[in-house]
Subunit: 322 residues, 2 copies
């Protein structure tokens, strides 16, 4: 197996590109794909200050690394979710990577700063853990990016994540979700521009990027993500990808090119009349935003304690990249 | 396991309807679903003369039976495709069902009437067998329905077929195909109204309908369909259906309700300027229609002979229902 570029020994094969690469040309391939995504979807301009949401998993560490390699001034933002040993290990990975990059890492602790953690919030609000977690992270990310004066908030969502989310939205034809599924969302009052620079790279590729770049990432899955339907959607798409390499990329990218433009009117109607939360000032369609409602319910709840988990081990990971 | 209606012993469970039925109430359930599809999508009016495309498989025999049960004047149309023993067995099933129904069966033989068969046509035109077969059947169906003065042409496409086709179209975001994917297509000059009355029934249900109604159908798969991508799409959707019953029905029916209306402009543009084939007079976007081009290439080709196949056996079937 030889590198397509230099004919040296290859370290990875990419069936959908019909190519093999050595370590050096694979990292160049990843940079090129990120640069292409940034340019194709007009995500960033040279010199932009970017805040990167960093979980400590492969995707978020890779996107942070890649954005800095491409010359962006990129700081990290890590949110402590309070999910037992998983969260402690996540924070260690994020800090170690910040040190290796010589980059600034902003840290927010849900329990210290907002009075609750994800397990407690999910139970108190009767949401699934993934729902309470996503809601909390979006709120903290948005606020940190706006308050910090960043030009954009970047997340590590990769091609597999986006294809699985698209598949879930398509299975239910949730037109409003479909209309909003785009790798760049423009800034609006109170909300930062949001970009997903990894949408042209699959999770096998972001994992390999970390490996060949010497980036130590948290391999363990979030212990609360079991049963998340996206895992089933990923599995279904992976089966099809094995039979026809390129299925996932074509599914996601041709959605953006061909279907997304038709959905613009649906998306526009959803953006009308966004007011402000009367408690925190965040943009919200209702008087009190969903995050403040979650926080209020969690504040009076008995804290939920997760049992300690074994140290992170090897194996495939499918955690939410943010 | 008891029938939801009469509490007698049930013969089938339908997880997506959270219901079990005895034989009598299951056949009533099937009739109700067909009646509901016909009414919801305005497929047929009482007294309509319908031509049913009959392959001899479970779906086409079931739809023919159900339409007659519902009081429609429904004749059958069987096309001999020349696919070895599979085609002979198909014809026998179609004829036996016509006799049982006391109904008229129109028969067309590709080899006798048009000078070629599917295996020869596919090889001569360098099409996949499923592509050459589908093209030929559409041409013959359209002509027979129009020449016979029928109000509509009905096919046995079931929910699994339509969901798999939709999934394939969505994976590539083929907007023109998506725009045309509807259970009823109106008549246009030279083309009959086309209806799919089984879109609310899955293939497990049409098979069960045949079993409890004493309809003997061809269980064998078409020997030329191996490798057809729709089999992989069906498998992926079936996996998701097991985890979340109703996934397939929701995917297909919410597409029709929510997405299909947005696609109308795409569909309209595809319908402009359809001329007539200068050889056969069929509607065609080009001077000679695709069927006449296929026929011309096949006419001078050496006939392809399929090896004899064993007699039809038991097992699940996934053949094209038309």
């Amino acid at each position: 197996m030889k590198c397509r570029v230099c004919r040296g020994p290859a370290v990875i094969d990419l069936p959908r590109h019909n190519a093999n690469f050595c370590a050096a040309h694979f990292t160049k391939f990843c940079r090129d794909q990120v640069e292409r995504a940034i340019s194709e979807f007009d995500m960033l301009s040279p010199g932009d200050r970017v805040l990167v949401a960093v979980s400590g998993g492969k995707d978020s560490l890779a996107v942070w690394h890649l954005l800095r390699e491409l010359g962006y001034e990129a700081d990290g933002l890590h949110v402590h979710l309070g999910i037992g040993g998983y969260s402690s290990a996540s924070a260690r990975m994020a800090r170690a990577h910040a040190e290796a990059l010589g980059a600034r890492l902003v840290e927010v602790d849900l329990r210290e700063d907002y009075g609750f953690d994800v397990p407690t919030g999910a139970e108190a609000a009767r949401r699934t853990p993934c729902s309470a977690c996503g809601l909390s992270k979006r709120h903290v990310f948005d606020r940190a990016a706006v308050d910090g004066g960043y030009d954009a908030l970047a997340t590590g969502h990769n091609l597999d994540d986006e294809a699985a989310v698209l598949f879930g939205n398509v299975l239910r034809w949730q037109m409003d979700y479909l209309a909003r599924q785009h790798p760049v969302l423009p800034a609006r009052a109170g909300l930062p521009r949001k970009v997903k620079p990894l949408v042209r790279l699959g999770e096998r590729e972001t994992a390999a990027y970390c490996l060949v770049s010497g980036i130590d990432y948290l391999v363990e899955e979030c212990p609360m993500s079991a049963g998340n339907k996206h895992l089933a959607y990923k599995a279904a798409l992976n089966d099809l990808e094995v039979e026809s390499p390129g299925t996932k990329a074509n599914f996601y990218l041709s959605f953006l090119r061909q279907a997304s433009p038709l959905l613009e009117p649906v998306g526009e109607s959803g953006r009308e009349g966004l007011g402000r939360c009367e408690r925190c000032g965040a943009p919200s369609p209702s008087a009190t935003c969903a995050f403040c409602r979650l926080r209020e319910r969690a504040a009076t709840a008995e804290p939920v304690t997760l049992r300690a988990r074994p140290a992170p081990g090897a194996g495939p990971t499918t955690e939410d990249p943010t």
